[in-house]
Amino acid sequence: MRKQRSTFLFSALCFGMAFLYVPIFLMIFYSFNYSKLVPVWGGFSTRWYGVLFQSEEVWDALALSLQIAVVNATFATLIGTMAALALVRFGNFRGRMLFSGMITAPLVMPEVITGLSLLLLFITLEGIIGWPSERGFTTITIAHITFSMAFVAVIIQGRLAGMGQELEEAAQDLGAKPFRVLFDVTLPRLAPGMLAGWLLSFTLSLDDLIIASFVSGPGATTLPILIYSRVRLGLRPDINALATIMVLAVAIGVIVAGWLLFRQQKQRTREMQMAGK
């Protein structure tokens, strides 16, 4: 009975995993295909990686994507952390519940809506104050910050809620002014969470297609946009290579972020034990 159930669960797991990962492995597999026709195996080769990096277009898109991702992650981490601090620490202010709910809205909002509304915002702004005069790096970055920061805020909020105020009080008791306390005690303890938030924002930005295509302009092609536009003209082996590289980058980001969050969890448990509770 027990055996049967576990066999069933095991095959369900295998099926689910296959469903998730076979397409990705297939793509990686074909990126090493010598043949120009994607589904026809012509022997192992790294030829398409070479082709890929000879294309200036690819380099430009990569550079743009990385710049956006870094700036986005940095700002999203700062703003998200501040928002979380305001929500958890500065007592009850008017509209706190509303703010708390609203900050997580971008997490569930359909990306099409986010993209569309931001596009409308930028166009309206351009009409009124003449900025942003063109859509590209700036608009994509701002758009990415809006949803990345929500992720950061949620991560940091969770950490803060579990932390308690006692260490901050101890620091104040020893003569530290509130601003000092923030830098000496609160932020160092939030550092792993902030780093995880940064990495998550970085990867979210790196693989966003929908929002970016809404708010990007003619000269600004991010990597996902480039891939999508090329594939629409037919499967191409060099795009497989490009996508493989992205999978690798995203996987590294997510794994490191996950590891940091795990460590943070462990540290919290340890602090709870230390408090003797």
Partner: protein, 383 residues
């Protein structure tokens, strides 16, 4: 002002509040704290003098931590005033108060080494680095943690952490040190050792301590005075001896140590007054200090160690109470034994030193005995 205090403290040792003209160092005036409808601290008045080691004693949730947090500045009193060294503490933030607190859970900074933890408060005060280093070393030596200076808090044992917390609070030489159950996490031996350390520190540095505890033994050994708290109010304030020997209420009497209580009505008996207790076979003579009248409902309280027990009838006399009873239960505690003797319908608890070995003792289970005490050892409690 503080010079007067110092002189007074010198003269009157650990009883500075008796000195003529003594000015309280901490003055708590009609302080209340409400959380919503709940009153955690209820209109409390208290004066604490320089150099005291003042213990706040009371059951869980009676408002001890809340009172300390108001002194440290983490909570504003809902009403009333707090003065420290003559200065009104209203709206003085925690980082500007001449008070340091040792937290119930130590609150060590987990990302800093032991030495950084201890140095933190000095650095905030702008003490020059060389002096910071010297004072931190000195303080770590005092709490015997010099070898652990470079460790992080999670690499220490519970007792070591507690000493780091103590060092961190003491190194600033605050005028007032608030300790919230400082020794709760320590084993008995380490606790006793630290209690003596605390008293030494207090002698050396002349800091005024306020110690929260719900361990009554700790309060008895440590403090110059004890305030017994119940439901946000002070029930009694006094020296350990006063609190133990002359509790004013049933609550204090039963909260500190063990005590036998006999409830009954005051009746006229022969020439004087006596207590008529329904559970006891005879009336009890009342102590001289009793100034109530006939018909009053009171409780007569006697500490277990003040009761004698013998197989023969006590010599008796006017100043002694003597009752016949039967030993029902007996617990061997090593240095002393606890007897539970049935007297009438009541059970009287008696502690007696084990002057002989266990197998040679005179009185054992089911022995018929007489228990008695000097009437002056008993207390007549009216509330």
């Amino acid at each position: 002002m503080s010079q007067v205090n110092d002189a007074a403290a010198g003269h009157y040792g650990d009883r500075p509040w008796l000195a003529p003209g003594a000015v309280p160092f901490i003055h708590i005036q009609g302080v209340s704290k409400r959380f919503g409808d709940f009153v955690a601290v209820d209109n409390v008045d208290l004066e604490i003098y320089k150099g005291e080691l003042f213990a706040l004693l009371g059951g869980s949730g009676c408002g001890k931590t809340t009172l300390l947090r108001m002194l440290a500045g983490f909570e504003e009193p809902s009403s009333g005033n707090i003065f420290i060294d003559g200065a009104d503490m209203r709206s003085v933030p925690p980082y500007e108060r001449p008070v340091n607190m040792m937290f119930q859970s130590y609150a060590l900074f987990p990302h800093m080494r032991v030495e950084q933890n201890v140095a933190y408060g000095l650095k905030r005060d702008g003490v020059p680095p060389a002096e910071v280093r010297r004072r931190v070393e000195e303080m770590l030596a005092m709490v015997e943690l010099s070898d652990f200076a470079r460790r992080k808090p999670h690499q220490l044992s519970g007792g070591q952490r507690q000493r780091v917390a103590l060092a961190r609070a003491l190194v600033k030489r605050p005028k007032v040190l608030l300790l919230d159950e400082p020794l709760a996490a320590l084993d008995k031996r380490l606790r006793e050792q630290t209690q003596f350390e605390l008293m030494n520190i207090q002698d050396k540095l002349g800091v005024t301590f306020i110690v929260v505890t719900h361990d009554q033994e700790e309060a008895m050994t440590l403090s110059t005075r004890i305030a017994v708290m119940d439901a946000g109010r002070f029930v009694q304030i006094g020296t350990p001896t006063e609190i133990y020997e002359y509790p004013q209420t049933r609550f204090t009497a039963s909260f500190i140590g063990t005590i036998n209580m006999f409830e009954g009505t005051v009746v006229r008996d022969g020439g004087g007054l006596a207590l008529d207790c329904a559970d006891l076979p005879m009336r009890l003579a009342l102590p001289e200090h009793f100034d109530g009248g006939e018909g009053q409902q009171i409780t007569l309280a006697v500490r277990p160690e003040k009761i004698r027990m013998s197989k023969t009838q006590d010599a008796g006399g006017g100043a002694v109470v003597s009752l016949p009873g039967k030993v029902r239960d007996l617990a061997y505690m090593g240095n002393l034994s606890i007897y539970r003797v049935e007297v009438g319908k009541a059970v009287v608890q008696i502690t007696a030193p084990n002057q002989r070995r266990l197998d040679q003792r005179e009185i054992t289970w089911d022995d018929e005995v007489h228990v008695g005490w000097d009437t002056a050892s008993a207390l007549a409690l009216t509330e």
